[in-house]
Symmetry: C2
Subunit: 329 residues, 2 copies
């Protein structure tokens, strides 16, 4: 357990003009999302103090060193003591065990939430361990990068992105409203839905895309007639886009697929059915069908850009000079 | 036919210190690739004069207005007259018919090349129309964006990217060497291989990735229980990356799939086989297998970044502020 000397709540970068929204926020897990929440919460002056726990002393130390937390623990139970807001920022599979572990240390009246990419399984795993008087409201910010760890976070991660909350029908309205305001202050827009609907929506907008990205990267790596070196050299034809997603944290994604099995298999069935139709159109040279389907897909891109969910810059605005080491002479 | 007054070859932006590599370059088709070749050739001072043709007078006019060409035609035959280098920059399906059309107008000693994303079909379609004394060498720069049209080109498109040439074994060595030097001067690295091997490599690094991107976008658009609006709002979870690729030109891609059928169906078979294995691992909760496959995929990303074929910046370096219209207050 690595407990650092307490930093005053009014350190130079934290100057809330009024009372902060939460006196003490506890981050359980300090990876990309946990560290970004810290940056964004400090930017908005939302916390009197941010504390956190990680499984390894090294991560706790890094988080302290980066100024992400004022106190660090390897014990989640110790981290949540006296916290008004506890955010589980671990892979999905750890949320249930951690909820059980911290159950008796949670402060009455506290809000307990999470950031996991699946919701029904987390609600099922966590809810039984939540004591009377603690408000458990599951959540999921739809934001991230392919990078992991406490160094990868930044304050702007949630700006303009959606955060989905999936409170139970019996949840305390004031607590839900407070958590909504917290995410809005981090930069997000907030939507409320059931855990089951969340899992269905994310299966198609996130989980299946990651699965097929992982899959094509592995398919490409195991060909006999095309070398790995060729795949890498000629990846700018489209393949490289998939490798970005496939560089995401393997543990996080293993847990997503193990915990959203039904919705993922459902959407995967649709995907394969549609792919079979395209395959057949190619085999029989049905150019009209291909052209029609490709044209439809273009419209979806336009809508995403109009909704502010992606950049209109070609190639995502990748700078050619930033990506090429060999410059022409 | 829109023929503009001839601009002197030594216009302000064209100041080759020495004799340019080609006195006259003719671009047949002036979309993303054609216009980028013009920009990059002017940057390097490779052409005495650049002329071009497009199917519609409006495109010819735009290309003239943008300074991409000094003379513009709607007739490809007229455009290639007196040209030392003729580059077919049209969708793959048009290369054969255009080769037939320009056959009698090609200048003896000229180099004829193309930029199509498939090579065996183009060689088969074009070669029979190439007159004695003209050097036909098929080519394919592995570079592009999701945008189309003469306004979308830029000089840096080929910097650090690979260009594949697929000359026949009987091709003139000096002509191949000259075309290689041309692409290197545009910023590319050059590799030579057979048309058949090109088509196999590109099937996995470009064609199948585009097909599955088009496919998942269409799958998402036809769900009953998830609305289009939800797909768009929550696309930052991964889906939006696929929509970029799926915004590419439908005609170009229709032609690619119609003309690289065998290699695409072969690679698609592999992809589906591997996806079925992943699907099975999800169904039976085989977390170890998922974790192992996901970890392997991460290494491929690292290699692509090391090879200078993509940026290491998270999210491709997308600026959060550039992509969000709704800023927090």
């Amino acid at each position: 357990m690595s407990k650092a000397p307490k930093t005053p709540a009014t350190s130079p970068e934290v100057k809330p003009k009024t009372q902060p929204m939460f006196e003490r926020i506890a981050l359980i897990g300090i990876g990309l999302i946990g560290s970004s929440i810290s940056h964004a919460a400090r930017r908005a002056g939302l916390a009197g103090e941010i504390v956190g726990s990680a499984r390894t002393p090294a991560t706790v130390e890094t988080a302290m060193h980066l100024g992400l937390i004022e106190q660090g623990f390897v014990s989640a139970s110790e981290a949540v003591e006296e916290a008004d807001l506890v955010i589980l920022c671990t892979p999905v599979g750890l949320c249930g065990p951690i909820a059980k572990e911290i159950s008796r240390s949670l402060k009455p009246g506290a809000i307990l939430t999470d950031v996991g990419s699946v919701k029904a399984a987390i609600v099922k795993d966590v809810a039984p361990h939540v004591p009377e008087g603690v408000h458990f409201i599951a959540g999921h910010p739809i934001a991230g990068t392919e990078q992991s760890g406490p160094e990868s976070g930044f304050a702007e991660l949630f700006d303009g992105r959606w955060c989905i909350l999936t409170p139970e029908p019996t949840a305390d309205e004031k607590a839900v409203e407070k958590l909504r305001k917290f995410w809005e202050a981090l930069g997000s827009k907030v939507e409320i839905m059931t855990p089951e609907h969340h899992d269905l929506v994310l299966a198609i907008t996130s989980h299946v895309p990651h699965l097929i990205a992982y899959n094509i990267v592995n398919t490409a790596a195991h060909l006999e007639r095309v070398t790995d070196s060729e795949v890498i050299k000629f990846s700018a034809g489209g393949f490289r886009d998939f490798t970005r997603i496939a560089a995401s944290d393997p543990t996080m994604w293993r847990d997503v697929f193990l915990n959203n099995k039904d919705a993922v298999l459902d959407m995967l069935g649709r995907f394969t059915e549609d792919l079979t139709e395209l395959q057949r159109a190619i085999r029989f040279g049905d150019g009209d069908k291909l052209h029609r389907l490709f044209t439809d897909a273009r419209a979806v891109r336009r809508n995403i850009i109009q909704a502010g969910q992606d950049t209109a810059a070609p190639n995502f605005g990748r700078s050619p000079s930033a990506t090429s080491k060999t410059k022409p002479t």
